[in-house]
């Protein structure tokens, strides 16, 4: 059991990081901390993906001189997925930060619970 966990230590670490990020995004009341949680969660997924594609002792998938046989390189597909994922994550973080700025301008706090109370009072 522990030997298996030790062998797959990158995957285990990625899953723990995913849990930390998920918990922060769900439970933190501060918007900025939530966004940090979101980024930890997404990064954990990239770590997991990158570790899937990595093969010990092989090179980065950039053919140096013409076409060389594929067995010398790591699997390039997960790296491509990570790049796509980063683009998605950046745009989502930007949108969340934009929303945070809007909320802060209006209610002068980053605490989501306080904002909810204020909004409720506004419409009573």
């Amino acid at each position: 059991m522990f030997a298996e966990l030790w062998d797959n230590y990158i995957s285990v670490g990625a899953m723990i990081l995913f849990g930390i990020g998920f918990g922060n995004l769900l439970l933190q009341r501060n918007m900025i901390k939530k966004i940090i949680g979101l980024n930890i969660m997404d990064t954990a997924v990239y770590l997991f993906l990158a570790s899937l594609g990595y093969i010990e002792g092989r090179l980065a998938p950039i053919p140096a001189e013409g076409a060389v046989e594929a067995t010398k390189y790591i699997n390039p597909l997960p790296s491509g997925l990570v790049l796509t994922g980063i683009v998605v994550s950046v745009s989502v973080s930007a949108l969340m930060l934009g929303l945070t700025v809007k909320l802060y301008e209006r209610y002068h706090t980053l605490d989501l619970d306080e904002i909810t109370t204020m909004v409720r009072k506004e419409h009573e």
Binding site: L49, L77, T84, V92, L95, M96, R106, T116
Partner: protein, 499 residues
């Protein structure tokens, strides 16, 4: 010549994607025309695609880019995909035309083009979610869908819209995090991203009993992720604020299309990626069944307690999402057919209800409180008729779409295991009574003659566009109710093509 039809799904997606960025430099008025044109063209092209694939024996694969199957990206078009695409375009068009008047009131002219960027991107992401054959492409468009929906919620610019959008974003991001890690795990154990290739590997995994635990984890994470995003009970807390405070077209589109796009992706995941038989072995269908039943009852109980019409309709969405998940959980093919039909039935009735609720509020001092709405059905007649038809469909009165889907749910339940039979039939009966309680109460309220003369302005005119949209909505709901046989045939054939 006929082979040219194979390009249409790709044309639709590209048209919608390209028109989004273009709208950002156009004025609001031009952006509106562009967007309406794009939605109409996509609807027509999807309709032609549907007609083309009905004539074919099997779905066709459209290769995106130069690389063949295991590496390249693909679009796969079957009957069910084309049917959904056509229907989504139609509902989106009607929601836009029906809500156009309120859109001009709620959104300032200089921000109008932003609204239509979101509409175009939403259309692109919905079509891609429907057609794609690649899991990771699916994930990317799930995120685009979320971002566009967030824009639709906050376009009105009130404090509570921004708060609702923030809460929606947080829940959606939790959901997409689970979806992407599940796709990563699936890639890890199968080595593929294309749905058909993953399915072959999954069958091998099940046969060899090797990576069973990661497979179950991946199925669980994906289902929970999509359940959060489509607001299945108990993840529905964000939904009422997001749906009820946004502008008319936004609420109509959000409630009818956005959540359905995710659910359709889940349906593809269940049937095409994992396979329905393997899905049943993991036990995911029992979990979906239980939460679906719970959502049906709790959504309706919450809706009864609302005094605001918008919030009542929003809570009823939670109950209707529950129906769809219950159908997924029945564990028989007929349940999937019923759920797919309910996606259509609910989408048409719910968008019509939101458009008519806004029409009724317009003649009642912009209030959706049931006290202010008294007699509104007589002041704005087409909105009143629309509300009645929508309510009857939601309750499940014969001739209307909701009744047909309930019949299919009930007959699907009879094919399943005994425990699920009894629970489903009892839950359907209770849920129908609960639905009737709040929808009939609201309808009576809308048609109670108002004693004070405050709103007795008889000069109100709803506008030709509004009447036309309402008439078409009613026509769709009645068509789904009365002429359901060919549509159910197409859905059945489409689902057969899935496996």
């Amino acid at each position: 010549m006929m082979d040219f039809f194979r390009n249409f799904p790709f044309f639709c997606i590209m048209l919608a994607i390209v028109s989004g960025p273009i709208s950002s430099v156009l004025s609001g008025k031009v952006a509106r025309i562009v967007s309406l044109t794009v939605v109409s063209i996509c609807g027509i092209l999807s309709g032609l695609t549907l007609w083309y694939v009905i004539g074919l024996d099997e779905p066709f694969i459209y290769k995106m880019g130069r690389f063949p199957a295991p590496f390249g990206n693909e679009i796969r078009v079957g009957i069910l995909e084309a049917l959904m695409a056509t229907f989504f375009c139609l509902i989106m068009l009607l929601s836009l035309t029906g809500g156009m008047k309120y859109l001009k009131k709620d959104v300032p002219e200089e921000k109008m083009n932003l609204f239509f960027i979101m509409i175009n991107l939403l259309l692109a992401s919905l079509l891609s979610l429907i057609y794609t054959n690649d899991m990771f492409t699916g994930y990317v468009f799930v995120e685009i869908n979320t971002i566009a929906a967030c824009g639709l919620i906050m376009i009105r610019g009130w404090g509570r819209n921004i708060l609702a959008a923030t809460k929606y974003m947080i829940m959606s991001l939790l959901g997409s995090g689970l979806v992407v890690i599940s796709i990563a795990i699936l890639y890890g154990i199968t080595g593929h991203l294309l749905m058909s290739n993953i399915h072959e590997s999954v069958l091998l995994i099940v046969e060899l009993k090797t990576y069973t635990e990661p497979l179950i984890v991946a199925v669980g994470l994906f289902s929970v992720g999509i359940a959060i995003k489509s607001a299945l009970f108990p993840f529905h807390a964000w939904l009422p604020d997001a749906y009820s405070y946004s502008t008319c077209s936004s609420s109509a589109i959000l409630s009818s299309l956005v959540s359905k796009g995710y659910i359709f992706f889940l349906l593809k995941f269940m049937c095409r990626v994992i396979g329905f038989d393997v899905m049943k072995k993991t036990g995911a269908d029992d979990v979906m069944f239980l939460f679906g039943i719970a959502a049906m009852l709790i959504g309706s109980i919450d809706a009864i307690q609302q005094t605001d019409m918008g919030r009542m309709i929003a809570y009823s969405s939670i109950a209707q999402i529950g129906y769809i998940y219950m159908g997924f959980g029945l564990g028989v093919e007929a349940g999937l057919v019923a759920s797919a039909f309910h996606i259509l039935a609910h989408a048409s009735a719910k968008s019509m209800l939101f458009v008519s609720a806004n029409g009724l509020a317009e003649v009642s001092g912009e209030s959706m409180n049931y006290r202010d709405l008294r007699g509104a059905g007589m002041r704005n007649r087409s909105a009143g008729v629309g509300f009645i038809v929508g309510s009857l469909s939601m309750v499940g009165i014969p001739l209307f779409a909701g009744f047909t889907s309930k019949v299919y749910f009930a007959s699907a339940a009879l094919e399943g295991v005994r425990a699920k039979q009894i629970i489903t039939l009892v839950a359907l009966a209770i849920s129908t009574i609960l639905n009737a309680m709040y929808f009939i109460r609201m309808t009576i309220s809308v048609y109670t003659p108002e004693m004070n003369e405050q709103y007795e302005d008889r000069s109100f005119r709803a506008g030709a566009l509004y009447h036309l949209s309402m008439a078409l909505f009613i026509l769709i709901v009645l068509t789904l109710g009365i002429l359901s046989n060919p549509i159910v045939d197409w859905i059945t054939r489409g689902l057969e093509q899935f496996s």
